[in-house]
Symmetry: none
Subunit: 223 residues, 4 copies
């Protein structure tokens, strides 16, 4: 099959798999059902993705790629703006990405729960061989730090030009932003992927608050 066509079919299978995983979750999803959803047989499914976990990582990779794309777009759009504005835009971009792609956000959180910084730590057992052998696992490793790096870069640009006044370490600020966003996404996820009020709080307000607080942090000259 031409590489082109193969890519398309792969993509089609991934979309079908997303639909199934989204509906019933990873554990309850049956490979047979996913195959049926994609209009292929189980064996064909396995010829594309060697295991259920690998298939899930393929989805994760797609999610991560999509995230990186929106990051890149945001960077391009805000290139002429101040470093502060650009940094905040990145945060907002991430939050909106998760709102718009609820399942992607779940998948990404799963991924970040799975990968542990210590490459040979005592929790390695959680990485099954199906995961370690997945080509997508390697590809993800290449991508998953980019959002951090880009954010650090924008913060440093902001510092250089003066729009960001804090003297805190850029990576520390990045992690702060990251945790804010991840926490937001978690709560978003806990509300079932919709921004309808949780505890009578509109999640849109929560998002705004996060941005506002971050802005304040960046604007403070003294730590």
């Amino acid at each position: 099959m031409k590489e082109d066509k193969k890519q398309k079919k792969e993509h089609h299978i991934i979309q079908s798999a997303i639909a199934v995983f989204e509906k019933v979750g990873f554990k309850n999803a049956k490979m047979d059902d996913i195959a049926a959803a994609a209009g292929i047989t189980k064996v064909t499914l396995y010829s594309y993705f060697q295991s259920k976990e690998n298939l899930y990582l393929a989805i994760t990779y797609q999610a991560m790629s999509a995230l990186n794309i929106v990051y890149k777009e945001a960077l391009a759009v805000n290139a002429s703006k101040s470093g502060l504005d650009s940094t905040l835009a990145l945060m907002e971009t991430f939050m909106e990405f998760c709102e718009n792609h609820y399942f992607y956000s779940e998948v990404l959180l799963d991924y970040f729960s799975m990968v542990r910084s210590s490459p040979s730590g005592k929790y390695d057992n959680k990485l099954t061989s199906a995961v370690k052998d997945s080509p997508y696992f390697d590809k993800l490793r290449e991508l998953h730090n980019l959002p951090f790096k880009w954010t650090v870069k924008e913060i440093e640009r902001g510092k250089a030009e003066g729009s960001i006044k804090t003297q805190k370490d850029a990576m520390l600020c990045t992690l702060h932003g990251w945790t804010s966003v991840v926490g937001y996404v978690k709560v978003l996820s806990a509300s079932g992927g919709n921004v309808s009020p949780l505890f009578k709080v509109d999640l849109k307000e929560l998002k705004q608050l996060h941005l506002e607080v971050a802005k304040a942090m960046f604007s403070q000259g003294v730590s």
Copy 2:
């Protein structure tokens, strides 16, 4: 068996299960291994906990209870302090709880990922009957909002007495704090449960920054 003895055995099983889950994760953990770790047979294990998920929820309940206890302790200790200080202390308490009980934090995040606000939403399928039937599930429902409520209460106390100046909704602020903490815990988890530097950032600094930023938020009079 006397109720007392039974309780002890139950506790022993839970501790053994924690050890196994912690090492290999929920999915990879086998009931056989847990039974072996507890020095009992699988059937006995099942006589105590009717399903793997119920066992996990029992652990979750223990984690949630422990969290509530430290919250209560923090409330007691800070009862004489200002509402602002008490609120920040709660946040810090939560973060330190997660540092000290890394596995509990994972379990609690799993729980909050699982429960969805909309009780009959389209993703209900993820709540398996094993979960719904678990007695711990009901018990957890009774507990899981308490940290929120207590935090709201302290914020309102702070507003009333003037230590907290923001005019933002108390629950909104609570959620903001919650998401910060959850994000922090996620990052903590991504660093393998230890506070060793991630991206050359000391997680202690990150924690401090979260508290500092929260403090700033509460101290701002205008939104």
Copy 3:
């Protein structure tokens, strides 16, 4: 389960498997069908016999054991007869065993086709790991030479006492008898396990002829 009960169940499964293999042959037999025939599930079947090939070897072992038993009985019954008579009785015993246990004879021929004398010859690939790993394979190795040895012994007894006059090597004579019988069994098998006439020849006559010819061979003084 008590060893006793386990043995019985194992035996029951083997009998069920024989029925299925006999009807449709090794290749067409499905493990599911064998399990169903035994009134158990496939998994239970696998817990007793780790592979289809191992199950087949278990049957082979049973066949070989049964053959050895009838050999031993024939030896006992003919202990007081001459070595010549005893030797011929062994041949007849083998042929009748195959007539009475048609499927056993097929299984034994399969086995003798499979095992090759050269332990590391170029055809080793035919021994799949499922075969090599089978405990029955080892057990069979211990049994499969006994009929030869016993026959050699009887021939030597006959030579010693004078009932067998040939000066040919006892093992050579044994192999001659063996090949006669194996050939007879092959033809028997080609006639579908029944002694009904083949090419208008009554297989009973063929059997008699083999015995008669063998008798003549043993009675010849000069080679």
Copy 4:
């Protein structure tokens, strides 16, 4: 493709298939491997031979044809000799054919195991439709009795001219010879296709013994 070229390619495929079957046996041989060995694709392989079993029967047919050719040659060579000598020569021819074409002998034994005299017996299930549909199956049916017929003819010639004195039925004698040879071939097969000693017995001696015994049988006037 010209008929001629097609024949050549067919032959080439058969030779490649023989190499693979010989090495790993029918069951373990994969159509992929055979196609690779022949330097063609699987689909092309299937365009020549509609099934694995048909391919095997094609080989069998080639083996049977080769056997018939050596029989015919032996008949021609011994036409001027006595019926006894000619009959014994046929036996020897068969045995030597099997020594020289070890794989052919395996294939032929497989074939004779498969075909059952009773065409609608209870074991018919073993004849898969792939076999029944094979054009080689029909061709084989035409050939497989010829060796018997020719042997019967020579025995009757011997009886007529007096070189064979036994009063036994010619077909009975033929079957006796056949079973001797088949048994010999089985033992040959058990020794891995080479005539090296088995149980310290030189297979050449065994062959001679079979001929000698057969000769004695034919020379006996009384049954």
